[in-house]
Amino acid sequence: MAVDAITLQVLRHRLQAINDEQIGVTVRTSGSPTVYEAFDVNSSIITPKGEALAVGHYVMALSLSFDVTVKYVLERFAENPGIYDGDIFYTNDPWAGATHQNDTVMVAPIFWEDDIVAWTGISLHEMDVGGPLAGGYGAQAVDIYGEAPLIPPVKVVERGVVRNDIEEAIVRNSRTPAFNGLDMRGRLAAINRTRTRMHEIIRQYGKDTFMEVQDQILDLAQEAFARRLRELPDGTWRQEGYLDYKRLYRVRLVATKKDDRLTLDFRESSNQAPAMVNATRSLLEGCAIAAILTEVCYDLPWAPAAFFRNIEVLSKPATIVHALHPAGVGQGATAVGALAQSLVSTAISKMFAATETYKEEAQANWVPSTKRPVVSGLNRRGETYAITLIDEAGGGGALSFRDGPDSVHLPGGPMMALGNIEVYERLYPVLYLYRKHTSDTGGPGKFRGGLGTEQALTPHRGKSRMQLLNLAGCSAYPEARGLYGGLPAPAQPSFLLRGSDVYEQMASGSYPSGYEQIGFRSDRVIKSREVIRLSSGDIYVAVQTGGAGYGDPLERDPSRVLADYLSEACSLEACSAAYGVVIDPESGTINVAETDAVRDSMRRERLPVTSTGVATNGNGETPILSLGDAVSMMPHNGVPAWHCQRCHHNLGPASEDFRKLGHMREVPIDSYSRWNVFGWVDLFILREVSCPNCGLLLDVQSRRKTDPTMYDSVDWEKAAAGR
């Protein structure tokens, strides 16, 4: 029996509405600023078989692995302790569907008479779930045993009644037990409401319709996704990112799209780290699908299980993307998870860029790594506190037609928010000296990446020193990948300033609103994921990087560069070093002649020594397809070739990746942004590929010096024929 399209539309909308409502209740009843102020929460509705049917728009990865939790419960606990109407299971185990231990999951079966007709689940970030390091993440652990304890799924609510013994066992380990307890009650309220709403549907439409609708939601979403995949070129796209945690790890994605199938192969990634940064296999899948939902399925119903029918994720056990117990996974979500997600984004954007329909969807990387202080100690009343302060924001990636947005969420969390400074200062013994957009954080390009923020804080009126975990990655190298000559967003360093003069300065009436205005006894760079202790007057300065650029920065309209200078998005030095635009700071105007000269000379520097420097004219043909503003494929009497879009120089046959046809040179990473100066300038390099004739920048990759360049292999002729 097939449900008619109208009933399907009505009930699909209603299930999404029910899912949104349960997040609403959770947020309104929570006492944790991580939830009510920053919205680090999400929920999902699952079929009885464990297929994700609807997912919320909050921090998406949080609720993209509930299928794993449901299957875990079904496989192990169906007989003992049994699964009954009104039961709710709780877990924070990343091998059972949690993203990392702080993200606690509650899932519940929805019964109708004797049968399970659906599951629902809500996950949120608890401020503390125990373990040696307050606030979680396990930065100093050597394996999972040094991180927050794992709680595999346990029945915390039995037939509608909270099990006091289980609840106590869960919150007993936490430094913030009352908050965790409150969050549990809030989710109980939310799940009860979902159950009532689903029962209303069944009463009105019947159980058969309710079940049939679930199947059809998945089938139709799958078909639409398959149609979209068929619109993209077939080929293989390779990209690799890095992760710094005591040593350097790599995550490599080989993405292959053929017909209506997408394979995301992560098997060449590094072996697992001892602790903290690894992702479990379910987290890897969740982060991959988070990118697919927001970037490919933005106009489709978000039914993740449907899309997985056409996606295969490959990984090797005991690697950093597929960690095995007892490796630690305490920060998996925002470490390897976020990185894997950004790699999927890059692959999708390159596929999109090659199509007429979707080229304006292609977006350079958003900020690929979190930057947050996890602070703990005793507050001014002597009580224990532990909190991840969600207080910084990175930038969004540039598009082919405009700059990326400043200060956005990590990709895949569209509803997230930063906390107000006042909210954090009221609840925790902390004083923020400034929080502002900071210049030169956006990756340069014809269109530049959006800006990230910089902030400084010091402990204030606490009864103890403040322990601070620098929950950051990509501190020492540019990671966010640009497109078609757009540069990567720079490294995002953090700094420790000991013995500052900020209180004295303030008392005397001057206000230290920037790093350069603070006096201090000593300063140093803080490493990714380092734990430090701060006394009042010691300052933690954190820079979060921006989004990556799109297109050659030398092609950026000089008036835009001037506007960036005037709005402090770009320093005077970067205007010249990255964009070749010379500005007179006195008059605030562009020196046109010098700008032309500097830009010419910068383009010449990109040319091979043997270059003739003479432009070859285009042959007047219409391009078969174009990639950004970099290269176009010309028919060339049946032997298609890549041409530079700026000078029409014939780069070579279209059967090759254009990156192999351009001229490559290596450039120090500190050449374009002041933030890279604090990075591993000896270890990393920018590989630039330019048109050998005119110097148009076609592609830039930030690589460890000893690592190979990444190339794509795409059947361009077939792609062109399909248009």
Binding site: Q9, R197, D406, H437
Partner: protein, 704 residues
């Protein structure tokens, strides 16, 4: 003309039209008029609507205005100035180091107020563009207060003077906002800054964050101050121009403005607090709803307005309009207690199409008034909800809208049929499907809102107004199992009608943090604060010329579980007694579980008070609703004008439905479904199995 020559006039500016309603001394509607909106100077449109209303009455405008004792106005000047970025050139003075707070916008600025479908599209999430205050017009000054209100860094007064001079003289700021961290608990720095500005530029418009929004959260507080400074001069200029025009034309009584708070206020107050005028348009209808609730004894009422492009819902709970405190306009969230009105893109102009999964959908895109529905023949090719209503026989194909646009049913058939073909449906099947989908989306919205408030739709009655409501709401009201459905007379000018009978409302809030049960000292501090707020509210009424005994005061304590942030209001008496204190926690917990369900409370963390609010209401001498004069007659035959085939879902087919002329219906007339009532401005469909009854006020009540 009324015997004693006293009128009450309401003028409401909508998207396309200015609506005017004139009540006579007995409270009867004496005249209703519409005139095109004049966005470049809204006061012209107001005068146009007044001329038309005077014409209807058969008197000169001067005669109408000189016998008018109350003039109530709802304008969109503030909303338009914000949306079109035509406010005053505004400068912002803020704590050094936090100049970008309004741009960072807590990251969520890029999605604030968007629908779920839009939030899903990551590559299209951008901040408010352009920002209301550009980078060049923001100055940070040295000053810092901490979370317990201690001054860490004194205000740099010389720096303020320099900043002000730069902003005004070099950058050309016409208006200034001041927003410092923690100013709501320690306002001295903002107060001193205002003095410094006043010394140099005594006539400059200035908004301080601690006055506009004395609440925690620097982003929302800064936006509140900035929008106030941005909109204040525009609203003031408009109000002055309108007052001049009206007084030239003979109006001698005072002008009252409608606010988003759900009441009326003086022009001075609206100019000082222009946020009150933001998004106040749909509020007129909600006010009408709350009055309706009182007059009809319907304590719990869902008020819905389905118009051309959107479907707006507000709630009356226990006789009171439900408020929200952090509204969003054009991606800016700010602090301003406002009637909670939720909107979705579902109206007569919503477009019917096929989504990416091959399933029919309705909206959120709209064909608007131009090109409008396919049946208008103005070039619209896409089928809309109005076309669907025409295909299904609900709308009269021979009617001429607003005396100008005639409907062409064949164009509607063709457009709906074309989309049907894409999914293998006949024209009728497609129309039935689209009708079902749009009704379900509206029903989902209603459920969400009532459930959020802890109630089931079954505990409510529905009040439906707006041009498209009469056709759609009766069907979805059946599905929601509401108690009954009311469609008022003059439903298309219901907002203006609500306004004209609204109360003047002044509200003050103050934070007060104490854990229940209070100590005697806390209780006496609380009582002192309540008395003080009450005095200040009363003072405002007295300054506006009200007598003390005309003002009704109510007081609420906002309570929450400790650790939580979302609070619930509890009504309290003049003073809080010891017995009250003892009962507070239990009252709060009962209300909490009422909303979130049994067993969801968390007594062990305790409950606390966070805020007090004092509301003052005064009713302008609004005449009562006109009294019934006719004897009720059940038989409606006199109004029967014909029969038309229309589709009735519960019968699953088209059946001949009797069509009645709404203008000829009389008090007590009973109408059995299936039938159709055609009135000026709207059409009401009574479904099979339902029954409608007309009352003395022309309201049609449907029992479903």
């Amino acid at each position: 003309m009324a015997e004693d020559g006293s009128y009450r006039v309401g003028v409401d500016i909508g998207g396309t039209f200015v609506d005017c309603v004139v009540l006579d001394a007995d409270g009867h509607i004496a005249s209703v008029a519409k005139s095109p909106n004049t966005p470049e100077d809204q006061s012209l449109g107001v005068m146009g609507a007044l001329e038309a209303a005077a014409d209807n009455l058969g008197v000169a405008l001067r005669t109408l205005l000189s016998s008018t004792t109350g003039f109530i106005h709802g304008c969109t000047v503030g909303t338009n100035a914000l949306l079109e970025r035509k406010g005053a050139k505004t400068g912002l003075i803020t704590t050094s180091g936090f100049e970008d707070t309004i741009f960072i916008g807590r990251v969520m600025q890029k999605r604030a107020g968007l629908m779920a479908e839009e939030v899903a599209h990551q590559s299209r999430l951008f901040k408010a563009e352009p920002p209301v205050v550009p980078h060049a017009l923001i100055r940070g000054v040295a000053e810092r207060v901490d979370a317990i209100g201690e001054v860490l860094c004194p205000l740099d007064e010389a720096g303020v003077a320099t900043a002000v001079a730069e902003l005004v003289d070099q950058e050309g700021a016409e208006s200034l906002a001041i927003s410092y961290l923690w100013s709501f608990i320690r306002p001295e720095h903002e107060q001193r800054t205002r003095q410094i500005i006043a010394q140099a530029y005594p006539n400059l418009y200035v908004a301080s964050s601690h006055e506009v929004a004395p609440v925690l959260g620097e982003y929302e507080r800064t936006v509140s101050a900035v929008l106030t400074a941005y909109l204040g001069p525009a609203v003031a200029r408009y109000a002055q121009r309108l007052e001049e025009r009206l007084s030239e034309s003979g109006l001698s009584s005072g002008l009252l403005m409608m606010t988003c708070r759900g009441g009326l206020t003086s022009v001075d107050d609206a100019c000082q607090n222009p946020l009150l005028t933001l998004d106040s348009g749909p509020v007129g209808g909600a006010i009408g709803g709350s009055l309706f609730s009182a007059n009809y004894g319907e304590d719990n009422l869902i008020c819905v307005d389905m118009g051309g492009t959107s479907f707006d819902v507000s709630l009356v709970l226990k006789g009171e309009l439900v408020l929200e405190t952090i509204p969003v306009v054009d991606k800016y969230t700010f602090y301003c207690p406002k009637v909670a009105i939720k909107s979705i893109g579902a109206g007569g102009g919503s477009i019917v199409s096929v989504d990416a999964t091959g399933v029919p959908k309705v909206g959120p895109e709209s064909a608007g008034a131009r090109p409008g529905p396919a049946a208008y023949g103005l070039g619209g090719a896409e089928p809309t909800v109005t076309d669907v209503d025409l295909v299904l026989g609900y709308l009269n194909p021979d009617q001429v809208l607003g005396g100008k646009i005639s409907l062409d049913k064949s164009k509607a058939d063709k457009a709906v049929g074309r989309v049907g073909q894409e999914v293998g449906m006949t024209t009728e099947e497609m129309a039935i499907g689209a009708f079902t989908i749009v009704n379900a989306r509206m029903a989902d919205m209603i459920s969400k809102l009532t459930i959020e408030s802890g109630h089931d739709p079954r505990e409510f009655s529905l009040l439906a107004y707006g041009g498209a409501s009469g056709v759609h709401i009766p069907f979805l009201a059946q599905d929601l199992h509401v108690k009954s459905l009311y469609v008022p007379d003059a439903s298309s000018v219901f907002s203006a009608l609500g306004m004209v009978r609204g109360d003047v409302i002044h509200t003050l809030e103050h934070s007060f943090i104490a854990i229940a049960p209070f100590t005697p000292k806390e209780r006496s501090a609380l009582n002192g604060l309540i008395a003080d707020l009450e005095k200040r509210v009363m003072q405002q009424f007295i300054e506006e010329g009200w007598a003390q005994d005309q003002v009704r005061i109510s007081r609420s304590l906002f309570m929450k579980y400790r650790l939580q942030v979302h609070e619930l209001p509890l009504a309290i008496g003049e003073q809080v007694s010891e017995e009250d204190v003892a009962a507070l926690q239990a009252r709060f917990e009962a209300q909490y579980e009422d909303i979130y369900g049994q067993g969801t409370g968390f007594s062990q963390v305790g409950v606390e008070v966070v805020k007090i609010r004092v509301d003052g209401n005064a009713s302008p001498a609004a005449p009562p609703m006109g009294q019934a004069t006719e004897q009720p007659v059940a038989d409606a035959t006199a109004a029967l004008k014909g029969v038309r085939d229309a589709y009735f879902p519960s019968l699953g087919r088209f059946v001949p439905a009797e069509v009645y002329d709404g203008g000829k219906l009389r008090n007590g007339n009973v109408l059995k479904g299936p039938c159709i009532i055609e009135r000026t401005g709207d059409t009401i469909v009574i479904p099979n199995g339902a029954q409608g009854e007309v009352d003395a006020y022309g309201t049609i009540r449907l029992d479903l």
